[in-house]
């Protein structure tokens, strides 16, 4: 049913329909209305789950690790510093092959203190083994949570999945969402049943010591599963489309790429603004398109190369940065395109929107303008030169 709903509330609603048995969260900042709403739903007995209110994000992640380890579908949400405090456990959840689903309301990292949106937080756990989805709209965020459980709990996968949605822009924004009904969700996502669980009748150990004779293989196996996911995720999106009638997720999505000579690459809600900028540029006869990264881990190298191999110039838009290096998307995209050798398009990296600096159509047109110049690895867009001059 179509509703006009806030992003956080929409996520809480869809999580309720996924029927998790354990929800745990640290309830104060940085947090969203998602877990507040879920706590209310548990209290109202609309959701039959144990809601565990904890004293830190480290504990929240530990509780969902424990919940999932007993074979119970589990959920948590966090943001920014909260994700950093979870980091140790986030790696453990993936290493123990527990299909937790977590929402990250993407926000900036301190210092300086900044509560606003960018995508720096997720980059800290980029290498943890979690599947990383990025939502462009509230609708896509809703849909990706369904796909997240479906994918992660697949016995051939058994990996945690993080749904990234831009803090404030999507979590606190309200828009029209086609909310799947409980019946539809039940049909799409059956109850979670696994033999891989802590069970006194069938004892097993998780997260054991793996000495140098074993560790390499165990890491390899996670990497292999990610490689297999590259062929599974398009099928997941196709199956979702069949069930719900709309495109959400997948490895990548493209916009006006058919005859494109130049392309943007980006992830998350900024893709919407880029689409508007592309329409403006197209109206002026510029053959520009967008490749949207919907799945960032596993990194869809082949899909990205296939979509960009015929373009002349690529602008990678990062809302985070590996300080001292480059934007993370830029690093991955250039690495992928290097397989084209001398035929690789000229690829430039742009960093914008850090700490909630608003990204306007004009900002994207500035990126486009710079793209036509000499190749750059890591150009910041929208810097206030007067502020920089003050610090000199």
């Amino acid at each position: 049913m179509k509703e006009f709903v806030e992003g956080s509330h929409a996520v809480a609603e869809i999580i309720k329909r996924c029927r998790p048995g354990v929800v745990s969260a640290y309830p104060i900042t940085p947090q969203t209305h998602i877990v507040e709403d879920l706590a209310q739903m548990v209290s109202n007995k609309e959701l039959n789950a144990q809601f565990v209110n904890v004293e830190s994000e480290h504990s929240a992640a530990s509780v969902v690790l424990g919940g999932e380890a007993t074979g119970v579908r589990s959920y948590t949400a966090t943001s920014s510093q909260g994700l950093l405090l979870m980091a140790e456990v986030v790696f453990n959840i993936a290493g123990m092959r527990l299909p937790v689903v977590m929402t990250t309301a993407n926000r900036a990292i301190s210092a300086p203190i900044n509560i606003w949106n960018d995508q720096q937080d997720v980059m800290v756990v980029r290498d943890s083994g979690w599947v990383l989805f990025f939502a462009e709209s509230i609708q896509e965020a809703v849909d990706l949570h369904l796909q997240a459980y479906k994918l992660g709990e697949d016995p051939d996968v058994m990996l945690p999945v993080m749904v990234n949605m831009d803090g404030f822009i999507l979590t606190h924004g309200m828009e029209v969402v086609d909310m799947p009904s409980q019946e539809e969700v039940d049909r799409y996502l059956p109850a979670y049943k696994t033999t891989y669980k802590l069970d006194i009748d069938n004892p097993q150990t998780m997260g054991y010591l793996a000495d140098p004779d074993y560790y390499l293989e165990i890491r390899y196996m996670v990497q292999e599963t990610h490689r297999e996911l590259l062929s599974k995720i398009p099928g997941l999106a196709a199956e979702f489309k069949k069930a719900f009638g709309r495109e959400s997720g997948g490895l990548i999505q493209t916009y006006r790429m058919e005859d494109a000579e130049q392309a943007f690459v980006a992830a998350g809600s900024v893709c919407g603004t880029i689409r508007d900028a592309i329409d403006e540029l197209r109206a002026k006869g510029k053959k520009v398109g967008l490749v949207k990264i919907a799945t960032y881990r596993p990194f869809p190298k082949d899909a990205i190369v296939a979509s960009l191999k015929n373009v002349r110039e690529v602008a990678v838009v990062d809302k985070s940065i590996s300080l001292g290096g480059f934007g993370p998307f830029y690093t991955d995209v250039t690495s992928a395109l290097s397989s084209l050798g001398t035929k690789a398009p000229k690829t430039s990296g742009f960093v914008l929107g850090l700490g909630g600096r608003d990204i306007r159509v004009k900002s994207i047109l500035d990126v486009y303008e710079a793209l036509g110049g000499k190749q750059v690895d890591c150009a910041f867009i929208g810097l206030k030169q007067e502020l920089l001059a003050e610090t000199k």
Binding site: F4, F168, H172, G173, M174, V176, T273
Partner: protein, 182 residues
């Protein structure tokens, strides 16, 4: 596409107001995107809420810089800050009247409606809590974007859970705001 910018202080209900506006447009079959932007995250700090409305899903995620419509919940914000920045030439502004605060005049064809939202609210319930709803009624009359009926439906849906009395008072506030401008 139409864009609305609401100026308020954190805690004055601008997000709820944007949500009701968005909901009224949604009930008409349009695609609103309503969202807040906070300054310092504390009560009383100036903040904005925005609504962007189109007949297809809104993709643009930036703030609103060139509003068609302005709603100023707290006129004291206009003392130190130009709320008309970027205001469209044919724009319509609805400002909540405040004793002792002079409301700057807009330019050219821009229209300004100064509405005694808090006073009307005091009159209805003895508290200023319905001020924003009065402004919404005034917005409908001033812009012709929504009918009183559209907003009444939105109020009933959004406040239905708060009991009949709350709904009735808000519907009354809507009507009084609408009539004030009409």
């Amino acid at each position: 596409m139409k864009e609305i910018r609401i100026h308020a202080r954190a805690g004055q209900g601008a997000i709820t107001t944007a949500g009701i506006l968005g909901y009224a447009y949604f009930l008409k079959g349009q695609f609103p995107y309503a969202f807040p932007h906070f300054g310092a995250a504390r009560m009383g700090a100036p903040m904005n809420a925005f609504v962007r409305i189109d007949d297809k899903p809104v993709r643009l995620r930036s703030q609103v810089y060139e509003p068609d419509y302005l709603i100023v919940v707290d006129a004291t914000l206009m003392r130190g800050y130009n709320c008309y920045v970027g205001f469209k030439d044919d724009g319509v502004a609805v400002v909540n009247e405040r004793d002792g605060v002079e409301i700057p005049k807009p330019k050219g064809k821009q229209k300004l409606f100064i509405v005694p939202g808090n006073k009307i609210s005091m009159d209805i319930m003895g508290k200023a809590l319905l001020g924003n709803t009065v402004l919404l009624g005034a917005y409908a009359a001033a812009t012709g974007q929504l009918t009183l009926d559209d907003l009444t439906k939105a109020i009933r849906e959004r406040f239905g859970g708060k009991g009949q009395k709350v709904v009735d008072m808000n519907v009354e506030a809507l009507r009084r705001g609408f009539d004030f401008v009409k």
